[in-house]
Amino acid sequence: MSPILFELLLRSIWETILMTAASGLISLVFGLPLGLALVATDRGGIAENLWVNRALGAVINGFRSVPFIILLVALIPVTRLIVGTSIGTWAAIVPLSIAATPYYARIAEVSLREVDHGLIEAARAMGGNRWTIIREVLVPEALPGIVAGFTVTLVTLIGASAMAGAIGAGGLGDLAIRYGYQRFETSVMIAVVIVLIVLVCGIQWAGDRLVARLDHRN
């Protein structure tokens, strides 16, 4: 591999990490409250409101049913509004975040839903309000699942960021297509695959470690 290609590889790794980390963080910040809202407004939830619940569910399902490559293009006006441009790494973070947020919301919802209803009842019996229940019961008890779900989301984002090359965002996927595939640079292709494997394994390993430390359930 030539030094130029190597430099390109390093830049692509950085772009992939940047896209994954930024959109991952955004999906966490918006997805977790969304997941909480889904559980809280559902039947028997701490803030039961079935209309809100259905509306939220419909919006989330809507975003989740659009293939990412289409979302990437369809969101160009929104991206331009937020970032000021529709091309480049930062521009890709907008559609990546918008795709990952409902995805992560659903994952967080599953973990939050698994929290034993008896624990919520105990907190209510102690005189706790909704905020207490969220802060002391729902989130801490679901935390292992919330973290494990975030790991899954990050790995999915690495995959999705490969498509961001379509709007000139760069990244490893883009590099593999343009050099490895279109220019028959097999060494680039192999290097990209290895880097991706290492990235995914690293994220998964770190996530698993964190979950093991947080999980006191047995």
Binding site: A125, M126, G127, E136, H216, R217
Partner: protein, 365 residues
Amino acid sequence: MNQHFAPVTEVMHPVGSRSAGPHDVVRLIELKRRFGATAALDGVSLSVRQGEILGIIGRSGAGKSTLIRCLNGLERPDTGQVFIEGRDISRLGERELQPLRRRIGMIFQHFNLLSAKTVEDNVALPLKIEGRPRAERLARAAELLELVGLSEKAKAYPASLSGGQKQRVGIARALAARPALLLSDEATSALDPETTRSILALLRDINRQLGLTILLITHEMEVIRSIADRVAVIDAGRIVEQGPVWSVFADPKSAITQSLLGGIRPQLPAEIASRLTQNAGVEAILRIDVAGEAARSPLLSDLASAVPGSFRLVHGGIDHVQQQPVGTLFVAVAGSNEAHLAQVIAFLKARNARVEVLGHVANSV
């Protein structure tokens, strides 16, 4: 204590007739709650006095869970009133209920400890909800863990505890905010008999030491027998019987109470029961229920000297409930002479025993 020596019939309060006194921590008036077509509570009126342990017993589905949840507003009655320390809470909003619930501790069948918090943080949680500073919370948690005998587990997580230890933590947590009332929702139903005894002993100690009023629901008569002062029997959403535990044990009025007592009271052995006939035989089988003075006196030896003829004890025993002897004896009286049998029964009745002729057996067993 004196009232325990009064004749059974005077101690029994007709259901719902007792007027509320000034020392009632809880007073329920005509509570009704329906779930769809079934009435979970169908007009329950009940009082819990300051410092007593009231046990509510019933089969599953009798309405006891709904009842206990009405006391801290986790459940709302459709109609009726719930007075806690003189204040009607049945129409209060969630926000008004929250400070009130801090006056009421609750323990649960499945403990409901937070797995993500250490034992001390679990115990301190009610104080955190009250907004107390951390130092105060931990000091109180340490004090309570000492009380329940789990000081060395303060930094452990609940998953590493046994069922009995978890319930001790649950009790410590329920006491953290110094409640006026402790609700126990089948607190020992998930525990083995030995652990159950130690948890009940702990609740009894707490009741005595702190003067804490306890309302517990259970489906096990043994729990009532061990610690309750008074018992109320609930069936199909109604209180069918209530009174001091020993008097209800001595003279259960309703079929449901008798059936709930069945497990811990002597029963006629099946091999005799299967041979009973209503025709005169070699022996007549009598069931004799005794309580108080009748159980304390040498009843059988007095019977032997007062009425000629032989009889033998088939089965039975005398138990002590709230320091009161309460017993059931099954006696086989030889011969089937009606006059003789009437003499035996008259003697026993004169001694305040309740007698029932169950039938006759053709030959002695």
